[in-house]
């Protein structure tokens, strides 16, 4: 369980937290004895300090004592740091926001690298000629906007043996699952 910081508990003790933070801290206190005791201690300090400096006939003294108590309360809260526990407020808001921001930047960088990485992807540039290439599920010959593709339907890619002839031919060899015959599809750019 993550506990609110000492600062948050001190501010809660003085009723100085905002509405959301106050509700959240109150919710935590409802099931955390440790923090409830902390808050009770802050409240006790806050009540005792003014009494110690009280001079009934001088209203100024009462005011000064209350100010002093608040200052001490603030200083005490500032000095109390629980090194092993992260503040609830930062975990739920700042941490999540940071994570989202970091993830977005990483995704942006990775996408950029994948798209723009020079020389890492064969760029299908327009070619003034005939091109042979294998595609998933077949081999094809294409020339501009026209293409002829022979398919090896129903055959797993790993069971297809492809070969190329440097003169401008391409083959896909497989065992036809329906006929049981070895079938060799050929496309030619000659």
């Amino acid at each position: 369980m993550k506990h609110p910081s000492q600062e948050t508990l001190a501010l809660h003790a003085g009723g100085d937290l905002g509405w959301v933070a106050g509700w959240r801290t109150g919710r935590h206190l409802s099931h955390c004895d440790q923090c409830r005791e902390e808050v009770a201690a802050f409240r006790g300090l806050r009540e005792v300090l003014p009494d110690l400096n009280e001079i009934p006939e001088v209203a100024w003294n009462r005011l000064a004592s209350e100010m002093k108590a608040n200052i001490r309360l603030g200083l005490a809260a500032g000095e109390c740091v629980r090194a092993e526990e992260k503040p609830l407020r930062h975990t739920l808001f700042s941490g999540a926001r940071t994570a989202v921001a970091v993830a977005s930047v990483v995704a942006l960088l990775v996408t950029g690298v994948m798209i723009e990485r020079p020389g890492q992807r064969p760029a299908p540039a327009a070619v003034d000629g005939v091109v042979l290439q294998s595609t998933r599920g077949g081999i094809q010959v294409f020339d501009g906007a026209r293409a002829l593709r022979l398919l090896h339907t129903g055959v797993k890619e790993e069971n297809v043996i492809r070969s190329v002839g440097a003169q401008g031919s391409m083959r896909a060899r497989y065992v036809d699952p329906e006929t049981g015959y070895v079938t060799i599809n050929n496309v030619y750019a000659e």
Binding site: D143, A147, L148, L150, L151, V164, A166, V187
Partner: protein, 382 residues
């Protein structure tokens, strides 16, 4: 905010338009495909069925999806061991042609057999062409005794003869293992072959044949071939190189010499490439460029091609570090062929790099699907 709204409207409009354009309709086989098999052919055309064949408009392009199953019958007195069908579309007449070959057959006289052709054509929608979209011709039939019938426009005779020679080599090998080591030994050999097939790294190769000599950048370097030489091979490689730029190879050329006493009319080299980590891949075959090659005993010839090859694997370029070549097939003037034997390939550690023959692929697939007994029965048929 306002620009966001405009962007959304534009996007929805675009999607809507694409949806309207992406309409499809079934294709009638009679209009789409014409099968040309001569009346006097030793193979008869029995029937053709069209599965889910459709034409789909996609924006400015029309996608024609053709799924055909042809039934042919052996009308000759010999067993058929291989067939090549030529597939031509006038839609891509400038772009090229295709074929579907079925080697390693064993069709008795009178028996019918199916050949499946699944193809797609993509063309601009504004192009209107009369006649069938696709023509299927019988380019060649090879029989058990190596006799041949057909137009042979795609060098089907040589291809089918090479595949049948490799098939005989590998069937004999498996039969010998069965005879010497029994079914357990055969099983081990088949499992080793399946493991090799699974481990063989395959390159994605893009082949470009330009219409005109392009003003391409100068190559980074000219790489020399290292050669694997087989004892008793009729043709020996002498020297060879290719222009290399990263993952791109251009203008491979290899000089070979006929070491045999017979005239050679076709030579093909296998071309292996290694990346910077030393991983070796089968890259391509390098055939003789001269269709009328005539190589008498002792003479030399040069195998030259002017295509560009771009190598990649899993969408990333494979930069070429080293190149190796070996003679993978030779055709003599009398039509007989030479291919490396299994010992050649095994000794040179090439079995792990070079793809198995069509017959080895068929037999190991049969074992995978139907088991050891089915494989043993199949070997007994030859």
């Amino acid at each position: 905010m306002r620009s966001d709204s405009k962007l959304r409207v534009a996007l929805f409009s675009l999607l809507g338009a694409a949806g309207l354009l992406a309409q499809n309709s079934p294709l009638e086989s009679r209009d789409a495909v014409k099968v040309n098999i001569p009346q006097d052919s030793p193979v008869n055309f029995v029937s053709m069925t069209m599965g889910e064949s459709r034409a789909t408009a996609r924006g400015a392009a029309l996608l024609l999806d053709l799924h055909m199953s042809l039934e042919l019958r052996n009308a000759s007195p010999n067993r058929i061991h291989g067939v090549v069908l030529r597939v031509v579309s006038q839609e891509v007449a400038a772009g090229g042609k295709a074929s579907v070959a079925v080697p390693s057959l064993n069709i008795k006289p009178g028996d019918a057999f199916p050949v499946r052709i699944d193809l797609q054509l993509i063309r601009p929608t504004q192009v209107l062409a009369g006649g069938p979209l696709v023509q299927v011709d019988l380019d060649g039939v090879l029989f058990q005794d190596f006799s041949f019938y057909g137009q042979d426009r795609l060098n089907s005779r040589r291809l089918l003869t090479v595949w049948e020679t490799e098939a005989q080599r590998d069937r004999e090998y498996f039969k010998r293992v069965l005879a010497q080591s029994g079914s357990k030994g055969l099983q081990q050999e088949v499992l080793a072959s399946l493991a090799r097939q699974a481990d063989q790294p395959q390159l994605d190769v893009r082949v470009i044949r330009r219409r005109a000599v392009a003003a391409t950048a100068a190559p980074e370097r000219t790489a020399q071939f290292a050669f694997v030489r087989f004892p008793g091979a009729p043709v020996e490689p002498i020297d060879g190189s290719a222009e290399i730029s990263g993952s791109e190879a251009r203008a491979p050329r290899i000089e070979v010499q006929n070491q045999s006493a017979r005239t050679v009319k076709y030579v093909e080299m296998a071309w292996l490439v290694s990346d910077s980590r030393g991983q070796q891949y089968m890259a391509a075959s390098l055939p003789a460029s001269d269709a009328e090659l005539y190589l008498p005993p002792g003479k030399t010839a040069r195998l030259v091609q002017d295509t560009e090859l771009r190598f990649s694997r899993r969408n990333f370029p494979v930069n070429i570090d080293k190149m190796t070549g070996f003679v993978s097939q030779v055709e003599f003037a009398d039509g007989k062929v030479w291919v490396p034997n299994r010992q050649n390939l095994e000794n040179a550690a090439l079995l792990n790099i070079v793809a198995p023959s069509a017959e080895e692929q068929r037999l190991t697939d049969l074992y995978r699907r139907k088991g050891l007994n089915a494989l043993v029965e199949e070997l007994k048929k030859f």
